[in-house]
């Protein structure tokens, strides 16, 4: 199966975003129009890279391919309450400090294995600053939502049938082949 062999390409991830001059991006607006939260292009790219670390591109699309980061920002802006938005942006700022503390560099400057390690440490360990933890959990859940509700996922991976037809109340579970 194509999908399974794709795993081998694990560490071939573009670090292109990290090479962009970051000082310019701080003044640049994000790619989506946001009404409530203030995010610059640099932060948008950080979120995109975190998303891509959570669901990387292999020979199937990754988080960036379905614009998960833009979906996440739009959802936080439109659907989250002001307290959550505040905590999210705080966590976003603190995330840099957290990254620097661990690897002496920002997340986009980290190599892919370091990025993965950094996120794992947030997932697994206690003692993570509350805002950083909230920021990460929010990004992860919205990245997952964006990916699993994307056109790609719902047509190529687990097909969503708009018109499913007959309902069967009780059928045997097929053994996995």
């Amino acid at each position: 199966m194509d999908r399974r062999s794709s795993i081998k390409t694990l560490f071939i991830i573009s670090a292109g975003a990290a090479l962009l001059p970051s000082c310019l991006q701080e003044d640049e607006k994000p790619s989506v129009s946001l009404q409530k939260i203030k995010i610059n292009k640099k932060e948008e790219n950080l979120i995109a890279e975190i998303g891509e670390t959570i669901i990387p591109k292999t020979n199937t699309p990754g988080a960036k391919d379905v614009s998960a980061h833009l979906f996440a920002l739009m959802m936080i802006d439109d659907c989250y309450d002001p307290d959550e938005q505040k905590q999210f942006t705080k966590g976003l700022k603190e995330f840099d400090t957290f990254s620097k503390k661990k690897f002496n560099k920002t997340f986009p400057e980290c190599a892919p294995p370091e990025r993965l390690e950094l996120l794992k440490s947030i997932e697994n360990k206690n003692g993570i600053p509350e805002n950083v933890s909230f920021f990460y959990k929010t990004i992860k859940s919205l990245t997952l939502q964006a990916y699993t509700s994307s056109q790609y996922y719902l047509t190529k991976v687990h097909e969503y049938k708009l018109v499913p037809g007959k309902f069967y109340g009780c059928v045997p579970v097929k053994k996995a082949s």
């Binding site: 399974r4 670390t53 993965l116 794992k120 056109q151 309902f167 069967y168 996995a176």
Partner: protein, 568 residues
């Protein structure tokens, strides 16, 4: 046609185009009456005005979620289960049409042609005499002036036209109807059905009857409707016409006769009572866009504005004869409002049937447990009882653990089947009381000069006791079936969220204690009829829409015969 009184005169006026108004329109137009149908909202044309019906999940900007600002500004409607991104354009937002809550009441409204019939839950269980005889037997409200035999032929009449899927279960407390084939129950639903019938003499788990075309008949094809495809996206409006809504059925049917004048954007201010003629002569309408005042006239007027708005119109219809609202000589108009107690829920898991699952479509209904409490005689410390939904299904689960490639592998893998999830919700009868009422706010008015409605309706001790009993009985039944992780919860939701508000203009035998007679006609104003939820003397446990439809068809038939005799 010039704007003269004659051009504004009809054979019949129907106020409201929803679940019951659509039926009044159809019956009058089919019998050749020139009928004016007034709808306060916009027009919604079947197929054409279902903007989201064929949208895929990823095409919704917020994937179904309602944005924060909308939820914040509209807390009441945001509590409704169907108020989601795909159907929120069919619901009235709190900010658009305010009302006054003396006690918390979630008034869920749909102002458009078709009303709430577009977004309803499509459950269609008949009443029986266990319901109609309730008030007389248990000594509350007043005796119903009708019995099951009066309504039975009309249930059949509307069921055949609407298309009801069901199973002939042979239960006296939930009479059989004219059924299209049922959909299947799941393995665990069938298993629970067996467990319950083995353990309890008077308790049954059945397939819930619902307004879905499981096998369309010629009459449905003639309406342009086709088979239900189990999309379970009904609240968006159905491209197949697979479920019953007014827009796909009664309204176009009435339209086809050439006898219907449908007037959207028409807020009914009041009914015009002529003190000399001693009867109602028409209605006073405000055009919701232009705010222009217009009068329409007809010898017979049907009120189908939805239970609470029907009360509002009547309370606002004052004349010399009726200074406190149309027909309101006994002071009971707006009182004895009741609803359904939907607070109790229970869910659980089941470890059995690991080798089985459901498959294919998304079934738009569930199983149903008809009322068994206090059925034949009073046996508990509370009056009446409750029906319950019952559903058991197995969701596929995508593993979202891990990160990076691991996570991606999980997402790409064939989903695993989870446990069987089991759930029930109670649908309890509530007791109509004089202290549960609606009235007009003495000062506040809406944009059209109509007083705001004040709602003072609450739960009582009987409801609390019933919830406790629901938890106990269902836990016992679930336990006997070997379900685990049983969890009960009281949503504490306010009345109204059940969307089954009823009463205020109740039927009865005696003009001293009721407003409408057995034909839904005012005792003291014979050419005005009420056949929506406002007419209900008691609430029973069944979802009421089918009963409103049958009542409306019956009342319209009577009104037509009276018109012909010159009695109105």
């Amino acid at each position: 046609m010039g704007d003269n009184k004659q051009s504004r005169t009809f054979d019949a006026i129907v106020i409201g185009s929803g679940m019951s108004g659509g039926w009044a329109a159809k019956e009058f137009c089919e019998k050749g009456l020139k009928t004016l149908v007034l709808e306060r909202g916009r027009d919604v044309v079947h197929l054409k005005d279902y903007p989201t019906t064929n949208m895929m999940p990823w095409e919704f900007k917020h994937r179904g979620e309602v944005p924060y600002d909308i939820r914040e500004a509209n807390p009441v409607i945001s509590r409704c289960y169907a108020f989601k991104e795909d159907a929120m354009h069919f619901f009235v937002k709190d900010t658009e049409h305010p009302y006054v809550q003396d006690k918390p009441f979630d008034w869920i409204r749909g102002y458009q042609v078709g009303g709430k019939s577009i977004m309803w839950a499509r459950q269609t269980q008949r009443w029986s005499d266990f319901d109609f005889e309730g008030p007389a037997r248990d000594g509350f409200a007043v005796d119903w002036p009708i019995r099951y035999k009066d309504l039975a032929p009309w249930y059949s009449y509307v069921e055949k036209f609407a298309g009801i899927s069901g199973n002939k279960d042979g239960l006296p407390n939930l009479p059989d109807g004219e059924f299209l084939p049922p959909l299947e129950l799941s393995c665990v639903e069938n298993y629970f059905k067996d467990v319950v019938s083995k353990n309890y003499k008077d308790r049954n788990v059945i397939y819930a009857r619902c307004a879905h075309l499981t096998e369309p008949q010629p009459i449905h094809n003639e309406q342009g409707r086709g088979q239900c495809q189990n999309r379970n996206l009904c609240q968006r409006g159905c491209p197949f016409g697979g479920y019953y809504n007014t827009n796909a059925t009664t309204i176009p049917w009435a339209q086809k006769t050439g006898n219907m004048t449908l007037r959207p954007f028409s807020v009914v201010h009041s009914i015009i009572y002529d003190d000399e003629k001693n009867k109602a002569v028409g209605v006073h309408v405000i055009d919701s866009n232009t705010k222009e005042s217009i009068e329409y006239y007809a010898p017979v007027i049907f009120l189908n504005a939805g239970a609470i708005n029907t009360n509002l119109i009547l309370l606002n219809s004052v004349s010399k004869r009726f200074p406190n609202g149309l027909g309101n000589e006994n002071g009971l108009l707006g009182k004895y409002v009741a609803f359904h107690n939907y607070r109790g829920r229970i869910n659980a898991k089941y470890d059995g049937f690991r080798d089985s699952k459901t498959d294919g479509g998304r079934r738009p209904t569930s199983a149903y447990i008809p009322r068994f409490r206090n059925l034949h005689k009073q046996e508990t410390n509370f009056l009446r009882g409750y029906a319950c939904t019952f559903s058991a299904g197995r969701r596929s689960r995508t593993d979202t653990n891990g990160l990076g490639e691991n996570l991606k592998n999980n997402l790409m893998a064939t989903s695993e089947l989870g446990d069987w999830g089991i759930g029930s919700q109670m649908m309890g009868e509530t007791i109509p009381k004089e202290s549960n009422y609606v009235s007009l706010d003495p000062a506040k008015k809406d944009s059209w000069g109509v007083p705001l409605l004040k709602i003072s309706v609450g739960h009582d001790d009987n409801d609390d006791k019933m919830i406790k009993d629901f938890f106990e009985q269902m836990t016992e039944m679930y336990s006997k079936a070997g379900f685990t992780d049983i969890n009960t919860s009281d949503s504490k939701q306010a009345p109204g969220l059940d969307i089954h508000e009823m009463g205020g203009v109740r039927m009865g035998k005696d003009p001293k204690t009721s407003l409408l007679n057995k034909w839904h006609q005012f005792h003291n104003c014979k050419n005005v009829f009420v056949s929506d939820g406002a007419c209900m003397t008691s609430t029973s446990t069944q979802n009421p829409s089918l009963t409103y439809m049958a009542m409306t068809a019956r009342a319209a038939d009577y009104a037509i015969s009276q018109l012909k005799k010159g009695e109105l």
